[in-house]
Each structure stands twice: as C-alpha cells, then as structure tokens.
Symmetry: C2
Subunit: 553 residues, 2 copies
C-alpha cells in the first residue's frame, strides 16, 4: 500500500509488435545476403505466426472477460432532472461502525485515488470537513477489472455518486476524519469531472502554515495566499476553509441570537447615499443615472435616524465600503459590519456593557457549538487558544489614559502616545496578555480629538469622550460611543471637524425632531473571525475578499 | 373630557387691562367736554387704583403660591452620562390593572397633550406600537399649577421621563392601546424637545389610507407618500410603521431560522465586482481607485461559486443593486435579496419544494408570532387576509403553459402571451384567487427564452427550462431554477445571450473544477413584506427607500 502508483491508468504496451522490417531491398543481393534475407523472412513469418496466436489468445481471453459491471460504474449523463428515483443519500459524518453491513449511497469529492495492483483501488472520499476511505475490490459478478481500472483513473476533485457497504475498519484509518469505518464500494459513477488542470491540490492547500518566523518547509509545496485567492473556489474546499466559514456563519448567528433576545430589531439601511458624509474616510463614488451617489462607509447615520424614529434598539449586518488605499493584513475595501445602536436611559455604559455581554455570548457560543471547526482550523493555523475572563471580576476595562500609562511603563515615550497606533496597539495586547492573562479587553474614554463629530463629549472634561474600543489579541474589533442627540451640539461638532451641516440636513433634522440619548458600536465581522482563529490575514476570513488590488473572483 | 381644547397652553388675558383711552385731546375744550374729561380722569384713576390693588393681591397670591413642585418637572440637562442612579424603567406594553397602586418610571413620546382647565392635563404617552393615557392633576405639595401649565405646554413628539402611579381605568380608554390602566403622574421631565416644526403629526400619518378608488377623505389631512418619505423619521414613528418593520425583522428571522435548520451556511458575497456581468439588467458603475468596479445586481455568481467550493447549501441576505430607470410601485434601485442556492441530488424540484416549505414556514410564523403587528398595519391598510393552502393537497403549482391557458380561457389573446407581463400577472392572480382560493402559488417550467443563460434547459424540450417563479397576490416574489453546472453548456448559453465567456472566466472556471448539480432562488424581502400586508407601494416596505429619483434621507 505504500507504493506511490500513478493515479492515471497505465497504458499497456501491445504484448508483441508484428515484425515489419526489411522493406528496403538492396539492388544486387549476394548469396550471403540472400541467405540472411531468407533467415529474416523465416523469422518474420514465425513472429507473425506468434503474434496471430497471441492475438487469438487475447481475443479468447477478452471474450471470457466480458465486463459484467458496466451498469455499476461510469460517467452519468448531465443531470437535467431527467428522473427522480428518490434514493436517499447519506452524509459521511453520519457513518458509524454500528452501521456495519448496511448499504449506503453518497455524493462526494474524490480527494485521492490510489490503485494497488489491478484488482484494488483505495479512494478517499470527501464532503466539506469530513472524509472516509472507500475500497473498490475486483469480485466476480460485482466489481470488474475494467471498473477498478476506471476508478483508479478518476481525477482527484471529481464528484462521484458512490454506493457501498459500510464496514467497521480493522484499525483506525488516519487519513480520514471518519476513521472507524470504511466503505466497500459496489457502484461508482461520475457526476462531475474536471475540465481544467487543478491549480493546486486541496491536500496541499490544507497543510499547516509554517510560523511566519520559520524557514519555508521545502518538503511540501506551500500554496501562497495570492495563489489561493486567485483560485478561491479550490482553496475554499479545504477542511480549514469549510470550518472558517461555518465559524463566520456562527458569529452572525450568535450576534443576532443575543440581540433578538434583548429586544433589538434588525434593519436594512441603504448603501447608496446622496452625499459623501460622516467622516474623513474616503468613499466610493457611483454613477447614478444622470447624477452621482456614494457608497455608505457605515450604517451610522441610518441607525441613528432609526433611533430618532423610535426603533429603540436596532442592529444591521451588511457590507460597508472604504475607499482607502491600504494594503495591509487587516484592511479590505469591502467588509461586513455588525452594527448596533440603542437608546440609553441613564448612562452610555448601558451600551458598553451590553456589547461586552454580546462578545462573551459569541465567544462562549463559538467554543461550545463550534469546537470541531475550531480544531479543524487549528490544524492549519496553530494558535494559542483565544482567552477571555470569565467570572465575577468581569471583562478587563481601562481608560485610554491607563492604556497609555501601561505603554509608558513598558518603555514607549509618552510623547508618541497622543494616539495609540497599530504597533502600540499590538504591544499593549502583549502587555495585557502577560499581566492579566486575557486576549479580550475594553478601552474606555478616548480623547475627543480621536473620535468622529457625532461622539458625545465627557460631561466633565470636554477633551475626553464617552467612547470605547474593544480589542482581541491586541487589535481593535469594535469602536463605539454615546452619540450626540442634541442638534445644536451636533452642528457645533460638525463645524469643528470641517463638515458643512447643510450637507447633512436630513441627519440633523432627525435630532431636531426629538431623539432619545443613545449609543452603539460597529464590529468588523472578518476581524473578529481572523483574530479569534489567528488567521493572520483578514482576506482569509472573507469569502471573496476585496482590496485596492483585488476585485475578482 | 369630550371638548377639543387646544393642545397649546392658552395664554390667560390679564384680569383687567388698565384703561388707556383719551390720549387724543381736542384743541378747544367745551364745558361739557371738560366735564367729560374730568369724569374720564376720575374713571382712569379709579381703574388704576383697582389695577394696583389687583396687582398687589396677585403678588400676595403668588407669594402664597410658591411652586412646591419645581423638583418634579422641567427640562433635564443634556444627558452626557453624568450619573447612573440605576432606576428601572418600564414598558407601556407591560402595564396591567394588577399593578394598581404601583409607582413606575418610563421614557415615552408625548403623542397628545390636552389641558382641562388649569388644574388637569391629559397626556397620551407612546412607545413604538403602544400608548397609555397619563393624567396630571394639581394636588398640594405634589403637583403645582405651574407644573400643570408646563405639562400642558409640552410640544407633541417631545420625549419625556414620566413617573406615575398605575391606576386601573374606570372604563376602557379607547384612545390608548393599553386602555385598561392610566398613569397618575407624580413627576414629568423633558428629555428631548423639538427644535423644528413637525411636518405632520404621527396621528395624521397613522390614519387609515383611503382605498385607491375612493374619493379623498377631506375630514382629515392625508399625508402623501412623498411627504412621508421626505420626512421619513417622523413617518416611521407611526404604529403602522413600527409594526411593518417588526414584520420585516420577522421575515428575515424566519428565513434564517428555517434554513439554519436545513444545513445551510450563511455567506456574505462582495457587492463590488470587477466586471459588469450576469444578465442584461443595467449595473451601477463605481470609481475604484484608478479603475472602475460595478455593483452586484445579485449574489448569483458568488453563491454558485460557493456551491462549486463544496458549501453544499448557502444563503445570503444582502443589498442588491439595479440601475433600471423604473419608477413603478414595485421597483427600487436598491433592495434586500434573500438568496439561496443548494446542491441537488436528483431533481430540481428538491429546491423548489424546499423553497415552498420555506414560504409556508414564513407565512405561518408571521401569523403566529406577529398577529399584533399584522393587526396594527391592517388598521391603516385594510386588506383581505393573505391566503395560502394548508393541508395535504399542498401549494398550488402549475406550468407556464397551464398559466397561459388560464389567461386565454379568461379572454387574453394567446398571441400576447409569449411572456406574462405585469398586467396579466395580476389578472392571473385574480383568476387563481377566484378559482383556487389562494394568494400564493408556483409557476414551473418557464420558456428558456425568458430566463438567464445559467438556467438549465428541460431535458426533453430545449425551448423550456427547469425554472420557476413564486407569486403572492399576483406579483412575482421569487425567481429560481436549476442552474447549468456543465462548463461547455454554460459557455454555449452565454454566447446565445451575447455574453463573452472570457468576461466571466472566474465564474466559468468554478464549473471546470467540478461542480455538483444545483439550484436556488432569489426573494425580494420588501416585495414579500409589501404583498403580505398589501401596502401597495414597495417604498413603504423599505426603511429609507432608493429609486431613480430618491437618494435621501
């Protein structure tokens, strides 16, 4: 079984070629030459006789070897819904040793195909994150040699319809995720083959990533990120990516689940905007019939207007667009915002605490319901488990000033810390992890100068604001604040930041019509996913990522 | 209580105006005139004396009437999160007669304010779809006259913090949704007032819409749709709209709930596309750094690529963009697509039946969980209840050909029916409602000529296709099909529709890499909402609608 045989069927050379020499006759033959010629002719005659005998034997043998399995294998006609026999299919994940002896039918990818001699073929069949070993073994009236040869020749990544008998595996099969059974194939049909060359194999794409500091592992071909993204459809088939996007689904589900239970209403705000507003960040311009429009860089204005319209508590999951020419590991031009906004009764910490509870709900839910997926990702992206504080002391919270002090203590010059840049953010993450043993914390009370115009100033120190950021592994994943709900103060704020209030009259009007005190925040879905799993690049957390240089696939 | 008093505080005229007549003196006074003058002077003196006495009395009275309630009312300072006393607030919806005697605190809008004399004020307080009557009654040491006057002067739509004692109502109060209690106010503070004129009252905006055929009801001001949309923040405060958007939330929730239970994964596909592709429908062009991009007109390509990437079953809820200059009741340039795609085992009816089950799940869920909201909407938009078939016979399904026959029977010339246009669609809806007593049905087997290139042709008749539309009240709300998963057939289909396959190479490659047979569909969220509730215009089902003429608010 250890031999690495070709997965392609080997073309048998003809057993013996009929002799066809001496076609070129010399002009004057000598006696010796004539003798030689006669000898050669005799040799050719004998060879031809032998070949004829051989051919007759082959024909007899072939006649004896009628393919009794033609119905059991081969390419299926294109499925155009010709018929509906309603034969039940099973999932690989559901196969157990208790099913020993049962015949099952399943659709799967051929992950590997390996012939052992001419009478046995081992296939690894894959569905999403699961795989099982299947065995095709020549047997009279059931599996023909021709069927085995055909199966051995199946291209990897083909989709097959396999019928087989479940057998308890004699020993655990390590190359399959469902290792305690194997499938003894009785039928095998091709549903969809490949009509191009695979850019890389799913096996190669699924190998553990070498740590960034380590030298390249030359034993296996490493598939680089750009190659993956250019061929994203194959890349997404890895068990790692199947797990990553189940986890992305999980985050969205947990987010809504929590907020639905707290009286929030899901809203959908328009991405097409009449004016380029909100903050200094660049926006994309759209040709809109004879005029122009702009793509929303967040649902900020709409969700605040929903609060002025008495919705009380709203959330939105939708794309946000940033026309920033940033080519970093954590920027995309389009990503998914998990946004929420809520009326507050007394204090903006009501929102901050709800957001904290939301994150704890998400972390716990991922750990409890998606441990299989987390383990699958960890095989390719080894990382320390994501840590957060449980128990009565609660999530670690400190003020911006305290964060600066921690960095100064660690040796960063205070004069560099008017803002905390990405490098210092990460440094702070390491300090916090070492000192408090957590990857998750909140920084409150950011300087007003660092926040957008709609942020509520601190009631005592107008240089500070009622705003907060949430962090995972030293990177910001949420930014939020109490908002200004007083139209005069809002207008003042706009002017200070160089925004013409007239350009945002619809927004301002919402507050002139009476609006409760409120606050909220925006979470980057892909950032949470990247940092929870330590995928190191945000593109890995996006199905088909977009950045200044990538608009396809 | 039946008198329609002004909601504005009536300015009390001064008890007696000082006489100020006779300023104009004639040049030569006669005796009589002098007498008259002396009389008038005497009269004026007496009047002045009387006024002075009166003023003194008033002052004495005012001194005696120190406002003992100053702490109990007035405008609160701007909430900047100065403090957090953690006083619990209640919801109006939770008030019951059993709470009689309890003191509660709540934040609400002033829907109406009506003084009865100078000692009593009736307020209608509103939270979303709920309202309650509150009563402010002058009482020694508790509610002062000044407090009552201030309360009577509150502008409608102000947001107040009200403390009061719950009292069982002597009789049901019809003007409030919670009519079996009233609130006897002990404190009333203004959280947020209005700094502009209300474009219309929420009461006016909440009145029943006259049927389209009926003459305008002149008794009340009718608020037209454009006025509403220009002032959407106020319009959204109506009980109708609060209910409409809870129902929108409900549809999304039921959609995901059903699909999560069927093994689907939620995906988020990019809205920024490198090429203008898919179908003939116009796309919006975006300036993308030094190049250009296009807004996705559906997640069609991405969700099919996810199937080729082994996701098996996917759904997406997200914006889709259509650059069509259509100014109809059912078109918007941006709307929310509820999209799904799944691998099929044998037949595309697997998808069609799942979609049918999904709709039944949504209809039943809305009826069961959102009956309060449906009733609230019906008050403004009276409509026959939405009907669908339950029971063993299942949802009504017929073929495109049968639909045409129904129309022909009804008198439509067959030669007009190569396609079924909007008018005939509605006509069909009426025929079906009359004949089969249902507002919900499926048409299968559309002609290939009417469907996009990626639609799988019928296996026997290539002029037909494996595609279907779903209808509610005679309007299409879902379009779907089995898709072509064979790259050669797909390329052929593109060429037939005049699309250059090279422009969609990433998409084509997905199928060259092996793809299971699959199908799916796309649902318009706002259309389902509009038709379920019979809102008559899709803009009413969108928070901030976008059409060729509207990009704001």
């Amino acid at each position: 079984m250890a031999d690495a045989e070709s997965t392609q069927p080997t073309q048998q050379p003809p057993t013996e070629a009929p002799a066809a020499e001496g076609a070129e006759a010399p002009k004057v033959p000598s006696k010796n030459e004539l003798k030689k010629k006669a000898k050669e002719e005799e040799k050719a005659r004998k060879a031809a006789e032998k070949a004829a005998r051989q051919a007759e034997l082959e024909a007899q043998k072939a006649a004896a070897e009628v393919d009794y399995a033609t119905e059991f294998y081969g390419k299926l006609p294109l499925n155009q819904s010709q018929s509906r026999p309603r034969r039940a299919r099973v999932q690989i994940a559901s196969l157990t040793p208790e099913m020993d002896g049962q015949t099952v039918l399943l659709r799967a990818r051929v992950q590997t195909s390996r012939a052992q001699g001419s009478k046995m073929v081992f296939l690894n069949l894959r569905q999403r994150t699961d795989s099982v070993q299947a065995l095709l073994s020549v047997a009279p009236e059931k599996v023909s040699k021709q069927m085995a040869k055909w199966a051995a020749g199946l291209q990897i990544e083909s989709i097959v319809l396999a019928e087989g008998i479940v057998k308890k595996a004699p020993e655990i099969i390590k190359s399959a995720t469902v290792g305690d059974v194997e499938l003894h194939l009785t039928q095998l049909h091709l549903i969809s083959g490949l009509e191009t060359v695979l850019p890389f194999t799913v096996d190669d794409a699924n190998r553990p990533e070498p740590p960034e500091t380590e030298a390249e592992d030359v034993q296996f071909k490493r598939v680089l990120l750009d190659t993956r993204l250019n061929n994203r459809v194959v890349d997404l088939r890895t068990q790692t990516n199947q797990a990553v996007f189940r986890l992305q689904h999980g985050i969205g589900h947990l987010f809504r689940d929590f907020l639905d239970g707290r009286g929030f209403t899901e809203i959908h705000s328009p991405k097409l905007q009449g004016a380029a507003t909100e903050s200094g960040a660049s926006v994309f311009q759209v040709s809109y019939f004879k005029g122009k429009a702009f793509l929303a860089q967040s649902p900020q204005l709409a969700k605040q207007m929903a609060i002025a319209a008495d919705f009380e508590r709203v959330y939105e999951i939708g794309p946000v667009f940033r026309a920033e020419d940033s080519n970093t590991h954590r920027h995309m031009t389009e990503f998914i915002g998990l946004d929420l906004e809520m009326a507050i009764e007394e204090h903006y910490h009501e929102v901050m605490e709800l957001l904290d509870d939301l994150f704890l709900h998400m972390f716990r839910g991922l750990k409890q319901k998606y441990s299989k997926e987390i383990d699958a990702v960890r095989k390719q992206f080894p990382a320390e488990e994501f840590k957060w504080r449980e128990g009565p002391e609660g999530t670690l919270k400190f003020s911006f000033k305290e964060a600066v002090d921690l960095l100064v203590e660690d040796g960063v010059p205070r004069e560099e810390l008017d803002d905390i840049d990405t490098t210092n953010e990460k440094r702070l993450g390491r300090i916090v992890r070492a000192k408090y043993d957590t990857d998750y914390y909140i920084i409150d009370k950011f300087p007003m100068a660092l926040r957008p115009f709609y942020t509520m100033p601190d009631p005592e120190d107008p240089t500070l604001s009622n705003s907060y950021d949430f962090f995972m592994r030293g990177e910001e994943i949420l930014s939020g604040a109490q908002r200004v709900h007083d139209p005069k103060l809002l207008e003042e704020g706009m002017r200070k930041k160089g925004i013409d209030p007239a350009s945002m009259s619809y927004y301002l009007d919402a507050f002139k019509l009476g609006c409760p005190p409120h606050g909220g925040g925006g979470i980057g879905l892909e950032r949470v996913l990247m940092l929870f799993l330590k995928l190191n690049n945000i593109r890995r957390a996006s199905l088909f990522p977009r950045d200044p240089k990538r608009l396809e696939p």
